[in-house]
């Protein structure tokens, strides 16, 4: 099987799974959940390109996500802008913000980078909470429905279709990016920045680009999810949300696009299931997270792939030392 064929075969399976869901005639609740998983998975794929592939950790992605949502909410409510224009301006503004801060911030490494992105997100959260006149403060504000040329996006199926289309498109794009020279440059940067520079990669530029790309993806999804929920609060920009995105990347698998989807689905579905546990919810969530990462240290998808490829090694070592990223030549 050529890599190109295999990529499209897996994508086709993903698309079929998405098409299958409406045929099961699910409840409104399931549709709503699936739609949110789809939008979230796109954010996680963007973060995975930055974090899993290029090795640049961000604890502030919820800020970009929330800024997109607030741009849509404020521009449509207070200024009467069309939804699409608000979404686009939000994305452009977030992209510009990411571009400006990328160079000074991305010089930092590891935990310092985590702290810098986290600080940035914290500032955004505090502003959104305090500027009550525009944002409604900590109570949040309503967001009008998404309209395009007089047509209103409403109904479970329409939203689900939009989310699925976004996810398929971004998955396809990310898989291609990972295999392109730009994607390989990112992986070289994760391996060693100095070595990447010596191989002729413009490290600062590559990092800036992937940072802006992931920020814009988060912003657009933030806008769509705000319209979908019909409401936005400062929690959309908060640290718990950022940590959740990061958790999804690591749980699903670093440098694995499909892992991002699995991670997003798992982290969002678990609390729904665990709700039945009542007071035990937080404890069980922690146990599942810790246990999964102890036994599948490279994340679910890379570890499963490793087990499938080398079934007899399963007992010897729990995971490969360095999981092969998707998009690298095999």
């Amino acid at each position: 099987m050529t890599p190109l064929f295999r990529t499209h075969a897996v994508l086709a399976v993903l698309a079929l799974l998405m098409l299958a869901l409406p045929l099961l005639d699910p409840s409104s609740y399931i549709f709503d959940l699936a739609t949110r998983v789809g939008f979230t998975a796109v954010v996680v794929i963007g973060l995975n390109l930055l974090f899993g592939y290029a090795g640049q950790v961000s604890l502030g992605h919820a800020a970009f996500f929330g800024l997109g949502g607030y741009a849509s909410a404020i521009l449509t409510t207070h200024f009467g802008w069309p939804s699409m224009a608000a979404l686009a301006i939000g994305a452009v503004a977030v992209g510009a913000l990411a571009f400006v801060i990328a160079r000074p911030i991305l010089r930092l490494a590891g935990y310092h980078l985590a702290m810098a992105t986290l600080s940035l997100a914290f500032i955004v959260t505090i502003v959104c909470t305090n500027e009550q006149r525009w944002t409604g403060g900590s109570d949040g504000m309503p967001v009008p429905p998404f309209t395009l040329f007089g047509w209103t996006l409403e109904g479970d199926l329409s939203w689900y279709a939009v989310a699925s289309a976004c996810l398929l498109l971004v998955t396809w794009g990310a898989l291609n990016l990972a295999r392109s020279p730009a994607g390989r440059a990112l992986q070289a940067i994760r391996g060693s920045e100095v070595a990447a520079r010596l191989s002729g990669i413009d490290v600062a530029r590559a990092k800036t680009r992937v940072f802006v790309l992931s920020a814009v993806l988060a912003s657009v999804m933030g806008s769509l999810m705000a319209h979908h929920a019909g409401f936005i609060t400062p929690a959309a920009t908060g640290l718990p949300r950022s940590v959740e995105f990061l958790m999804m990347v690591v749980l699903g698998g670093m440098a694995s696009i499909y892992g991002s989807i699995v991670g997003a689905a798992l982290v969002m579905l678990l609390p729904q299931v665990l709700h039945a546990f009542g007071a035990w919810e937080t404890l069980v969530m922690g146990l599942i997270l810790t246990g999964t990462l102890i036994f599948m240290r490279n994340g679910i998808v890379p570890t499963l792939r490793f087990w499938l490829q080398m079934p007899n090694k399963r007992v010897v070592s729990s995971a490969p030392e360095s999981a092969q990223p998707e998009g690298s030549s095999k």
Binding site: Y111, I123, S192, V194, W280, T282, L293, I294, R297
Partner: protein
């Protein structure tokens, strides 16, 4: 004016000492393993709540405090043994998320055992403020400042004068070389988690009379401690102390003179500036990347 300033400084230094204790916990574990332990805030919370619950059960305050510190020390050691050691050799980010998972487990367990309500601890020596001119000083603030000073001195002694401390330092410089010198690096790691637990409990117990505590309190404290550690330079003891005090004072001054709703924002703007212009923190050492 001067009275106000003094008042703000006192409250800032008290809160700062609390941040510094949290930051020292991060520094201990970071030094032994380069792991940033995101469960540190929960250690603080466990210490504070345990002491409060014991006192509520009618146990004498000093006994309750010792009990809380010992329990949290055990929680720290168990964290290393049950969650970090089984994942030995995993990428650092995986370990980081594992410590977040441990934080959730601790928080969940505390919620199960003691509920989600708030607890408070009586002040160690009464609530009558000490008056310095026109400035009122809570006696508990003196306890916080004094105990923080003692903890810092004990840590300095431990790291420079004892075999245990020196083996921890050796492990932080070069784990392999330390192992070849006969140091049991796994025990060092467990020791650092246990010490970080005890440190967290001390911080929690000291400040519980001032701030109240609940199962949710750990997250914010842990974050502020991490900010203080990053401000001073992760892994540096002096940096943790300076970063914590600085953060506390700046927050208090902002709350007093600018706006209390923006006090957290100022702390983080400052942190962002320090990180951009002094990427290793105020006291961090320079590191050269190896290829």
């Amino acid at each position: 004016m001067a009275t106000d300033l003094l008042q703000f400084l006192f409250s800032g230094l008290t809160v700062g000492a609390m941040y510094a204790l949290a930051a020292l916990g991060y520094a201990l574990i970071y030094n032994a393993s380069h792991i940033v332990n995101f469960a540190q805030g929960e250690f603080i919370m466990v210490g504070a709540i345990t002491a409060a619950v014991l006192v509520e059960q009618g146990i004498a305050l000093p006994v309750a405090i010792v009990g809380a510190v010992l329990l949290t020390l055990l929680v720290g050691a168990l964290t290393e043994r049950l969650a970090i050691r089984p994942a030995q050799g995993a990428p650092l980010v995986t370990l980081l998320i594992i410590t977040m998972g441990v934080g959730l487990i601790i928080k969940g367990a505390v919620q199960l055992a003691f509920g989600k309500g708030t607890y408070s601890l009586p002040a160690f020596s009464g609530d009558t403020p000490i008056l310095l001119g026109k400035t009122a000083l809570a006696p508990q603030s003196l306890w916080v400042a004094g105990c923080t000073a003692v903890v810092v001195l004990v840590l300095a002694w431990y790291f420079t004068r004892t075999l245990g401390g020196k083996s921890m330092l050796a492990t932080s410089y070069n784990p392999l070389a330390a192992q070849l010198m006969g140091i049991d690096t796994r025990r060092v790691l467990m020791m650092s988690f246990a010490l970080a637990g005890a440190l967290g409990a001390i911080g929690g117990v000291l400040t519980a009379p001032i701030t109240f505590t609940s199962s949710e309190a750990g997250t914010v404290l842990g974050l502020k401690g991490f900010a203080a550690a990053a401000l001073g330079g992760i892994g540096s003891g002096a940096g943790a102390l300076a970063g914590g005090l600085l953060l506390g004072v700046i927050e208090a001054l902002t709350a007093g003179y600018v706006s209390s709703s923006y006090k957290d924002a100022v702390a983080f703007v400052l942190l962002l500036l320090v990180l951009i212009f002094m990427p290793r923190g105020l006291f961090g050492s320079k590191v050269t990347e190896r290829v």
